[in-house]
Amino acid sequence: MATTINGAAAPAIETPRSPRRRPGGPKARTNFELYAWLFMRISGVLLLFLVLGHLFIMNILDGGVQRIGFGFVAGRWASPFWRTWDLLMLVLAELHGTNGLRTVINDYAERAQTRFWLKMLLYVSAGLVITLGSLVIFTFDPNIS
């Protein structure tokens, strides 16, 4: 159905796409999109402090990046405060990024199949990063040899 345009100045998106479909009976209504929207705002504000704080401590505060080593990490993670900080940063940043990319995929992927597989890839990779990251934070052993 979609015709292609050639040689025209403006890139054109042709005769659409999936039209509004309202199949029999209303879809189950959830507040997922509302919570996702709200999460983006709240996590964004929190990450502002978490990430800037992290960057400041790691790169600027006494000696900056030169002093970071196994001992430095082990020292920090002896305190539950820094473990919580890092865990929070990991989870919030990963979910914030995942939701952002989900939006981008929804906006740009036109075919249902493409959308589905791109999102699957996204969710699997997000799951891996969060799992691996939390594993390290929770099971870190300062006496490892």
Partner: protein, 254 residues
Amino acid sequence: MTVTDDLSTTAPAASGPTATAGRTVTLKIRRFDPEVSAKPLWKSYTVPFDPSDRLLDALHYVKWNLDGSLSFRRSCAHGVCGSDAMRINGSNRLACKVLVKDLGPEISIEPIKGLPVEKDLIVDMEPFFDAFRAVKPYLIAEGHEPTRERLQSAADRERFDDTTKCIMCAACTTSCPVFWNDGEYFGPAAMVAAHRFIFDSRDAGADERLEILNEREGVWRCRTTFNCSNACPRGIQVTKAIQEVKRALIFRRF
């Protein structure tokens, strides 16, 4: 008064509203006729104009003097009926509300984007109206029918004044990049229509409409690109209206 591309017409006898003008402008129009070609093509027309001519006058000149096969919608020709929204130099405008002299020496004219093109500048508005109908754009009242009109304070009327101005020209919805890619998105015009009733003190259907706009393809897909506010020929703050619906949804919840 020459026609380029394979349309060679002899210059017609000068007639029409703009025939006496000294200046000319080139209209580059995206033509589409499924009976002629499956692909749209651009055709250029050179048209004389007066400083007071609107783009609609120039289109009339083409249709009446150069090429009668050009199709476009227009009705009142004074920015009230909302029939002649089109993509002019890349922005959605009403052809009857822009002056030719403000548009440069070559003006590109396309149908509004994201709706199926039927012929030339005429698109199928049905998907647009579907979204409009879906938000129940009519008064939903409760309680006893009053014996006189439903009164409202000036302040209550002011609350939704901006969104009453909509003329349903579809300039906003078809300027929205989310709508271009996702035909299921309600689009700004439907949200303006919903806003007009959600914030009306006489209306009792706000919850119903908020639920509808809370859907996956509802207000949360808005990217606040402000294309809609820029496109609106009535100056409605469309993006603001959408954000007010979002806010109403959030404060209803928390």
